[in-house]
Assembly symmetry: C2
Homo-oligomer: 335 residues x 2
């Protein structure tokens, strides 16, 4: 069982998860995949993962056997588990709680494919739908206050397997990055006649045009004004909605080709870069928040994160977001 510890200074939680040390590459500083290792996410290798919690399958196929298109399984080396109950305790000035939570893997395709951008849009739509379905389900467990969905693509972005997958971590705390963002968004809302800062960003990016990469009926993709990383991209819904799990069918149809296009452009412009993406969505147990809007952030990992970034929480980005947007706008993708 892992243990969740609070920094004595700030509301930053650290998961002490010795289970994670059992991963073959837990402390491997030399990034790269073991090409001889068997791919546990291939169709036919279902027995190499814990039993599935969700799968989109062809009619007539059985759970934990071939015939699936997208499959969600518990992580084999989970940072959290639901086997224990949530207990909090203190030790002098320190606070901790048991490592109650959920750590799942969304296996995005049954065959050996490393790049989500090569999926048909229907597959991307099913992945985005699986995220929604998992969040809806996890919401039922009132101990789980938040779930973060993220993707690590490439060894340098932290992936330990090349097969296309994303992950979900549901925790009994709201992570500090989201807490800070929601608190700041609420301050903005209260000081700007109840306009959301996301709506203000949307309007300004549409008007300014210099950081816009692509606009669809229901979303915009742009490089944020204060991008931390070169070629960082944000995808923001046009309609107010704080919770990703409330994404509509129309939005799923609109978002999947947009996500594919942005990933294609990044791959083409940056020669198949390592990247992370993260969905920032409101805490699971919160009601709809008018001041916060869910969004998806894609961060290519082109520059090294070093002492300055760790020590300051600030970033040095060698590329103006306007230049990055121009490069990405000019990448032509043929169908």
């Amino acid at each position: 069982m892992s243990e969740i510890r609070k920094d004595p200074l700030i509301e930053r939680w650290v998961v002490i998860a010795p289970e994670r040390a059992a991963r073959p590459d837990a402390m491997n500083t030399d990034p790269g995949f073991d090409s001889a290792a068997e791919d546990p996410f291939l169709e036919g290798n279902e027995h190499l993962s814990p039993p599935e919690v969700l799968a989109y399958r062809d009619a007539g196929t059985q759970p934990n056997s071939p015939g699936w298109r997208v499959r969600v399984v518990p992580n084999l080396f989970p940072a959290f588990s639901l086997t224990d109950e949530l207990r909090k305790q203190t030790d002098g000035l320190y606070e901790q709680m048991t490592g109650v939570g959920v750590h799942e893997v969304i296996v995005e395709c049954p065959h050996a494919e490393w790049n989500m951008s090569r999926f048909p849009t229907e597959t991307i739509r099913e992945v985005l739908l699986a995220y929604r379905e998992r969040l809806f389900d996890l919401k039922q467990n009132e101990q789980l206050l938040h779930a973060l969905i993220f993707k690590n693509k490439g060894a340098l972005a932290g992936a330990s397997l090349p097969h296309c997958h994303s992950q979900l971590m549901a925790t009994p705390f709201v992570p500090i990055a989201l807490q800070d963002e929601i608190a700041a968004a609420l301050t903005w809302y209260n000081t700007h006649q109840q306009q959301s800062v996301y709506e203000a960003i949307l309007q300004q990016e549409l008007a300014a045009d210099s950081r816009l990469i692509h606009e669809t009926d229901l979303f915009i993709a742009f490089t944020p004004y204060a991008s931390r990383f070169a070629y960082e991209v944000m995808i923001l819904p046009k309609q107010q909605q704080s919770h990703y799990e409330q994404i509509t069918k129309e939005e799923l149809f609109d978002l999947s080709p947009l996500l594919k296009l942005i990933l294609q452009k990044l791959e083409c412009a940056l020669n198949d870069p390592p990247y992370n993406y993260v969905i920032q969505t409101a805490p699971l147990q919160d009601d709809s928040l008018p001041h916060f809007r869910w969004h998806l952030s894609i961060t290519p990992r082109l520059t090294r994160i070093a002492g300055y970034e760790w020590g300051s929480g600030c970033f040095i980005n060698p590329l103006a977001p306007e230049t990055a947007a121009e490069v990405l706008r000019n990448v032509t993708i043929s169908d």
Copy 2:
């Protein structure tokens, strides 16, 4: 000239520094040093760096020529500069200021040495003294609100050159990580009868013993309770002092062998790991803060930082700090 942009949501500053893109490895995702490249920090290669701002030299030697032991020079690819004046402007909802600041390199030895731990303690003491001297000097410029001193050791920790060096970045803003820590420390101070949280941590770590690695007359070295990284080490002064530049001569004499010992233990236990260290010190223009204490944090880079950490601001550490402390305590260093 670089540009400093504020995130529209939180007080997080991002430096847009196209100058940095000119570095040979600015966007090189494949970490490693170019072994054929000339070492600009070697004695005799002074002409490869901008003119020195500080050097500890043998008597009778000339600036920017051989004969130095520790030498501080402006970074050749600076993220900031003092050539422009500080101007702030807004663009709709966005805020920015000119990239006024200082970016220096502390070259720690004149010969080809990659590991600070192999220095005689006198050399480490001169490096620590150079930090103090630079902070005192930079304080005179009232535009500079903060200076972060940090070291990137090894390509995987973000170093672009193997020759022992550390860096200093002085900025017209206080970084968000320090702002948050000082704000939280003030809250603690005000709710705990004006005791500093650092004093509370010091007392508890000395009493508990399980995370203590080494104690000297004036400092303790321990693995923090909520360590973000495996084998993270904090060095904390026993005497209250918010500003590193106020470090005393006695403290310098006490700290230098301790820092050497901890680096030796880390190298021995972890086979010469990449690491960062950072000195967290109070803002340059602030008076002494009774609620904050400067400290030095060393973070080996053994695990990959991926989507979860970026998205949440929280960390998953596969090693209990108590285990790390035990390992490090048990490493014996012979003189």
